[in-house]
Amino acid sequence: MELTVIFRGILLILLIVCAVCVNLTGSLLRAVVIFMSYSSIMCILWILMESPDLAITEAAVGAGVSGILFLVTLKKVREENEPDPADAKKDEKTGSVSGKAPR
């Protein structure tokens, strides 16, 4: 097995692991950061496939501008942690309102 084949295989497996981890984290901030790292791994894959234009564009746009737009949205919405459905059930019994998850 050549070294490039092993390297490419490791990168592909890392891609799937990143995509599954974005699914399973509880915190939205962590999901966005893992998404930015997923985009960086994609950039290295483009270089291995001999397309350097796509690598520069993906690095600047995927990990750069798109990730930053997600982070600014989270700041405006002020929900870094996803609101827990358990909190909603607690509020039903006590009758109070909570809009944010506890920090």
Binding site: R8, G9, L12, L15, I16, A19, V20, V22, N23, L28, A31, V32, F35, Y38, S39, M42, L45, W46, M49, E50, S51, P52, D53, L54, T57, E58, V61, G62, V65, S66, L69, F70, T73, L74, K76, V77, E79, E82, P83, G99
Partner: protein, 126 residues
Amino acid sequence: MISTLLNNSEEVVAIILFGIGFTMLLFHRNLIRKLIGMNIMDTGTFLFLASMGYITGRKAPIVVNGVQEMKAYINPVPAGLVLTGIVVSVSVTAVMLSLTIRLYKRYHTLNLDDIYAMSKHDMEDR
């Protein structure tokens, strides 16, 4: 069939990513997770498209030393298509995120089921 799947490993991974993005669209209720899922679907499609253009043993399509045979370079056409796609993907993400901000300012929640219930109530009031 299994040997073909193992050889086309990039395309298999691209389709698995497409499937993961699709399940994120269907199963999560938070709007921002749906958008991340849509982005993962987009990048899976680009990986599939660009892996169609790679030919083993050949180099990137930049003319070096005046060599201009077809047998020295990879296929340049899918790279051009993916370049357009990446920029369109970021534009769509920006518009969707601004819609999310406006929805939050009106309904104060990011849960799609609650937004749907409140908006139905709004429409009945009119």
